[in-house]
Amino acid sequence: MPEPVTASEQAKPPAAIPEEPKLSPAELKKKAKAEKQARRAVQKEQQGPPDTRPKGGQQKSQQPQQKQNKQASLDSKHHERPGSSQQSLPLRRRPSQSDATKEREQPKKGSKQVELFSHLYTQPRRHTIEGASKDIHPAVLALGFQMSSYEICGSSARCVAMLLAFKESIQAYTTPNNWALSRHLNSHYLSPQIDYLKSCRPISMSMGNAIRWLKNLIGKVDPNMPEQEAKDFLCGEIDRFVHERITISDQAIATTASAQIRKGAVLLTYGKSSIVEKTILQAYANGTEFRVVIVDARPLFEGKQLATSLMRAGIEVEYLPFSGITHAVKQASLVLLGAHAMLSNGRLQSRVGTASIALAAHEEHIPVIVCCESVKFSDRVTLDSIVMNEVAPSEELFLPARVEAHAENQASNQEISKGGDDANGGAVRSLRDWKDIAGLQILNLMYDVTPAEYIRMVICEYGSVPPSSVPVVHRLANEGM
């Protein structure tokens, strides 16, 4: 049903209004415009992740959309909170409840965090622009929302989007007198923008690399270069960066990787990676006959978008829930995985669940190939998935309405059956009451780390390398320049 999508699309600007009383109408207009630009930009950026394409976009927003609707309603049911108008909120505002909740739950908060990961519960994700400093550029503001709501998702997509947003903000920037652009821009202008983005959702490895690159580029700008010229130079550089490091790279990778897909292959992939998608489509375009098996998992169901786009392309697709891994690997002949980041010890950081797939494949002696642009390579190393990770709002794990409803009424029946001698005051509760249940924690991790020994090959724009030579590529690509 396309309704929700369209709904959310239209709803955006209006819904934005109540949220930001501080903004003057003028700013509002600017913001809305910026927003649109940001989006269009990303769309235009074809090599950018297709999930920002209208179609992908739709597919994407559906799932969360439903979720947030009933969630909003439910929340308003359970703890009535002023913004129960959230019902109508567009997708990107969704998690605002969650952090509203967090505020409400201040006392219990500690108990709701899994100690193991307490280092990851940084400040709650920002979903409003309340208190965002004035000089945050609207484009960046917009981007922030899109990221926090997975509207823009996927490491490289976010990276691209960010750079484009920076382009705009740089253009909008004027060096104050008696400042050199190279001095001021970074520390006083760019940094707040970046911090803002971080507050919306922790930045990805690629973004980090890009930022580092940008900063030191700016730093190098000749102080007595006229401002406009400097800005144009920077923008030009950014475009080049995006083009070289991502657009072209993706092409290169897709070509190399698609060569790995042989006739009659059964390709197994997990979730959705833009490069993997490109690779598959490429291979299909090359006229190779093969089958794709997609394993997917809650709560994001990214694999479903992939499946949809592949099936539309006419590829034979099989779709399994995460529990079907064993079934999947039994038939698979090749595993293709995308990456969030490649760590210097050859380990792969990617969407949570990837490691399980790799392990299963490894056990079955099926080659595991990771597709990853060098911009996602990192000098960091980690052994487990706990130190470096990201914790998403637990609310995302709530079940869609109908199931919930179903559960509810079965619960109520249980009530009848048991005459309300329940430990906690009778009422049969659903997961949504988790905040009120002491000792219950819901953990919604974003990534996990796949041991290097499960990975046979990493394909980046420099060609195919064993995981062991990730650091080499990293130096070459991200520090060499």
Partner: protein
Amino acid sequence: MAPKGKKGATKSNKAEEEHDEPLQAVVLADSFEQRFEPFTIEKPRCLLTLANTPLIEYTLEFLAGSGVEEVYLYSSNHTDQVEDYLNHSRWTQETSPFSLEIIRSTSTSIGDCMRDLDQKQLIKGDFICVYGDVVANISLEGALAMHKARREKNKNAIMTMVLREAGDYHRTKSQHMRRCFVIDAETQRCVHYEQVRPRDSPRLNIPEEVLKDHVEIDVREDLIDCGIDICTPDVLAQWSDSFDWKMPRRDFLHGVLQDYETFQRTIHAHVVSEGYAARVNNLRAYDAVSRDAVSRWTYPLVPDCNLLSDQTYHMSKGVVYKEESVMLARSSLVGKKTVLGKATSLGEGTVVNNSIIGRRCVIGKRVQMDGAYVWDDARIGDDSVINGAIIADGVSVGKKCHVKRGALLSYGVSVADGTTISENTRVTRRKRKRGYDSDDVVHGVTDPKVVGKGGEGFELELDMEEEDVLEALMAGIQHTDLTEDGDYSDFQYEDEEDMAQEHAHDMTSRSGSFGSVGSEESGETRRNAADFHHEASNSIFDSLQKGHDPDNIQLELKALRMSSNAGDSQVRRAVAVAFSKRIANLVEAGKSPKDAVAEAISPNQRLVRACVKAVEEQAEFMLFLQTDLVHRPQGSKTLLFASNTLATQDLVEAEGFEQWWEDERSSASEDLRAVRAETKQLVDVLVGDDDEEDEDDDDDED
């Protein structure tokens, strides 16, 4: 299903106090139409096998699964077969979960069944009403509960329709005609119902009072309506009250909604979002549901749950269901989503994909099968290719044959070696002789052009709507959405969804085409018209055949007309159609048009005279006659002789003819003109030559 146990436990305690009444269900085993021709010529639809299990099994299983205790099964054609089957099935053993009673009826529509049921006084409490071709695993628990709850509040909540949510496009949902339910969001009451054609401007004419007194209404067009209704006895009463109702939706639902103001009776909708529910009511659905079953959407009603006690299906890799003692040659290849029945054998080098093959079939060497449905005991010769066709029991296809998409080979047909059965041809050995209302099935003449030398069977000529169905079947098989098929006949066709009587069906398309002629009628009245038309024309036709006394026919006609306050022109149309049909019928029987006309009309002049008095009436009558004859064998001849007789009997005067002739509608289309061509001289003679008129005609002719 887990919660049920507990629910069951709790609720039943509660239930014990209240006196126990068995849950009853009515199964309408008949589809009063023939979209499954030629198969339905020899077998009732509910016994056709889907994934190698007769449809009725699914339905009964569904009822058993929802805890039904008494089932009444209505059957009016091939009843013996139905009875025979059921009497040997587990449903009639004393171990059966419910008592099953088969009711023979002569009814020609759902309405009749309902009325009959009402008279029989079998129904004590609320009951579930389903068709004999429903495949479903949804739980009625919720629906029943809510229905009950409503009843307690308000006795007027007489019915709950169980509808399955399905997306915008869905293979198991009818693509021809979207049923559109307007539902009050909080009471779940269905406040308006319409059938919309896809690709039409989606205009609903919702009565404004509806909009007025309902705060929030959902307009749902994304629902699969598989005719599962939870009814109260009042429903039956309703049916009886208005004896011209035929279809549960178009008539009943609509009717009840109509006089809501007066009777305050409400019908509710229960939208299910879990489980499976579908009706196998046309070939497209057959294809879709089969595939659903094989890919387990109907779980647990999947092949390997072996509904029938003698089945031994077992699922193996790649969604292949095999029964024991299936013989596969070493080099044969069984692709995914395939079902193979007991003792079926595949020859060397044969490749089968997405196909369902029944028992004891012999598939030769190097045969290619994709999306084929083969029932029991068929034999396919070496090197044949079969795509998306249905091959019935005992068919034998020779070597090197090619059966193309949408082809249907009915029982016992045999195709000679090297023959190609082109797309959408329906080959059969028997055809239904449109005799007296009990249709007798006769062997047809083999047509070598179709089945090749030494083959057996001929092509069953198709009416428009059936072609649609075939397209549909193909569409289904090709996994494409149904593409443009914008002839108005499919409006009628889907409109008849639930009914389209055995005999009436060929007329419905006419009335459709006619509908376009008399296009000033609003959709609403047109519907009634269509109704009245079928009823009337049928009854007249039958009595004509039986040679009833014209006066009685006249009376009947009156009664009918009163009941569904139909206009004169409708009556005229009915009469005209009836006559033309009768004549055609005689002609088919081998009479010459002349005698046919004589035999049909002469004795019944009064009938005609009664309805054509004024000149324009006569003209209209002629027009009706002409329009209908367009589709009849030897239409033009018939028209000639008919006009002649009418003239000589002066039932129609010269002016009548003249007006008719001048009426542009009579020369609206090519074939209309063709039909009346022969009558020209006659008319000229009658009207007396009038030059410019000739020219007109000439113009028309070109």
